[in-house]
Amino acid sequence: MEKLRDPRVRAWIFQVVLLTLVVGSIYFLVSNTLENMARQGISTGFSFLSDSAGFGVIMSLIDYQEADSYGRVFLVGLLNTLLVSGLAIIIATFLGFAIGVARLSHNWLIRKWAAFYIESFRNIPLLLQIFFWYFAVLRPLPGPRQSISLGDTFFINNRGIYFPEPSLDSNGLWWLGIALVAVVILFVFRHISHRRQVVTGSYLPMKSITFAVLTSTLVIGLLVLGQPLSWELPELKRFNFVGGMVLIPEFIALLLALSLYTAAFIAEIVRAGIESVSSGQTEAAHALGLNRPMTLKLVVIPQALRVIIPPLTNQYLNLTKNSSLAAAIAYPDLVSVFAGTVLNQTGQAVEVIAITMAVYLTISLSIAALMNAYNKRKALVER
């Protein structure tokens, strides 16, 4: 009896009980599931992944035919998810930083506009915004024959946005080569400038250097190599456009909604980050003789980033997970084609949902790990 009063003993007992409960309930669920599936005649295992899918997908980054396997469908969906989330993350970051800075602008009107944007977009459910863009804006657009044409190069209609498709000419590789050289030169200059700034305090005029390097590369390239790309224009044939590239309305609606929604959250994070740098820092930098851009670059932004990055990571994760709302407007992302169509066709709910969840978990954990590493590099070094 005396032993029961010992906290260590009690902790052990508690943990054993907890572990038994967890293992027990997992066993209960698994055995129920197996029994239910056996009774309903649902097959188990992952062999269905190599079966032929037999349905079409409206957008695919890789070659895909109806006869391809469910495994291929999975890949198509995964790539579509990654495409829309990746692009939306880029747009949302730029837009969010711009609006976050605008929120702190000296200009009263700009400040109010930024606040209006933030408060309206983040307080309306994302799904509603997706529906708005898709069902209220993009679907009612005119059909292909009455497309809105922008200079006969871009066409907008209810099947999407058509635009010229670039293809690399034979000198494309050479172009890639000189672009690479330009980038290397820029990096060397940046390195020299940084070294000089650390040692002497003065720095190279990086803006002019960048401009000079880029224009000279362009001019040399055009003079020596000629045009790098040729463009194939979309053309209206009987019922639809042929040639060129197309962004389907489902993709545009999802991309727009995800970027605009997340930008509102990022803007708030950026504002909080910039505000967290005390005005003493700016004043001290000015006193040291740094001008406004240098103060921002060397003093304010590095400190603000420390505050910004952890919640920013969260927003990226949220955006990636939110891209699964694609299912509501049938953009063929992972959830829509795999956890939707494939699940319905095969009936193998457990495997399909488990794979889907595992994919999102992997994406989440890897973005989190990546950002943590970056965060560690940027974190305050305590002395």
Partner: protein, 355 residues
């Protein structure tokens, strides 16, 4: 008058036209306003149709608010039978009264009373909504819908998520490796996947998980998934609160010889939870917006029912009015809650500075 004019002149020069760049930005912003605001009001008010009760009543170029007017009862209550809707109104009335009383009332037992209300009210409300006793006819959950369902899902989600979140947060901060591991895995698992897969799982897989013959209806299954999902997010919020309590408080509680649950219940949690009220409100806002996802598994929340009526054959082409209405409702709820959370945050930080 002249002085006022001078004042506004200086204000404008300082805030709108203090540099060429700012002048340009001001002009751009004004242009944006002129481009967006008058057309919006033309559409939403001046050219809009308000009277009548058929699609034919909408002839103007503007919005057809008749659509919203005709379907308003559905938007609010879903397919809940008309003669039973007083039950919903009554429950909402009781809720408003409870919140008002608990906010106003100063009493030393207030915390206990709040807790009792938190436990008893859902039981009472569910009894009222579902019925089946005292002569109240049963209203199946598949008839529930509209804003009513949105509120049911959001509120029961958060009420269920709260105790789960507290337990998980305590588990994650525990010194017992097994409890810590179980809580951490549980939290990260739910936070790592999208809500939509959780809802799919709840609607498709949950029936497979349970023994033969045991079955819930779709709403309860969805609620179960949402509670687990929100519980994981709540756990992280509460953990933030637990971490904000200085070590001395834990040590003092131990020194008093209190048991673990007494330490937590009387000393740590009251302080920690108070610190994270804004975080809890924010979780609730996120959950409130996320309730729209239940339409994907075939429940008719506010957005779901608008989507369904917008595809009604005799009212085609008015989805946009429905969306604007839904956006307005959601915006009012979320914006007022976020203001409330900011207010609390300010009050809490002001209190801290005084110490």
């Amino acid at each position: 008058m002249n002085k006022k004019l001078m004042h506004s002149y200086y204000w404008m020069r300082e805030n709108l036209f203090d540099s060429p760049l700012n002048t340009l930005l001001t002009l751009l912003a004004c242009g944006l306003m002129l481009w967006l605001i008058p057309p919006f009001f033309d559409w939403a008010l001046w050219n809009a149709s308000f009277t009548g009760d058929t699609k034919e009543a909408c002839d103007g170029e503007g919005a057809c608010w008749v659509f919203v007017k005709v379907f308003l009862p559905q938007f609010m209550y879903g397919f809940y039978p008309e003669e039973q809707r007083w039950r919903i109104n009554l429950a909402i009335g009781i809720l408003a009264l409870l919140v008002f009383l608990l906010m106003r009332w100063r009493h030393e037992q207030k915390a206990k009373l709040s807790l009792a209300a938190l436990v008893l009210y859902p039981v009472l409300a569910y009894g009222l909504f579902y019925g089946g006793y005292l002569g109240l006819p049963i209203v199946e959950t598949r008839l529930w819908g509209g804003l009513f369902l949105t509120l049911v899902v959001a509120i029961s989600g958060i009420v269920g998520a709260f105790p789960l979140g507290v337990l998980l947060a305590l588990g994650r901060r525990s010194e017992m490796p097994v409890a810590r591991a179980v809580s951490t895995v549980f939290i990260e698992l739910w936070r790592g996947v999208p809500l939509i897969t959780v809802l799919f799982m709840a609607s498709v897989m949950l029936p497979l998980f349970l023994p033969e013959g045991v079955n819930f209806d779709k709403l309860l299954r969805a609620l179960f998934g949402i509670m687990l999902f929100a519980g994981a997010y709540m756990a992280e919020v509460v953990r933030g609160g637990l971490q904000s309590i200085p070590r001395g408080q834990y040590e003092a509680a131990q020194a008093l010889g209190l048991s673990y649950w007494k330490q937590m219940g009387f000393i740590i949690l009251p302080q920690a939870l108070k610190n994270v009220i804004p975080g809890i409100v924010n979780t609730f806002i996120a959950l409130f917006k996320d309730t729209t996802l239940v339409l994907i598994i075939g429940l008719f929340d506010l957005l779901g029912i608008i989507q369904a009526t917008a595809t009604n054959a005799s009212w085609l082409g008015h989805a946009i009015e429905g969306y604007v209405f839904a956006a307005f409702v959601f915006w009012v709820f979320c914006y007022s809650m976020s203001r409330y959370s900011q207010h609390i945050e300010m009050k809490l930080s002001a209190g801290k500075e005084n110490n």
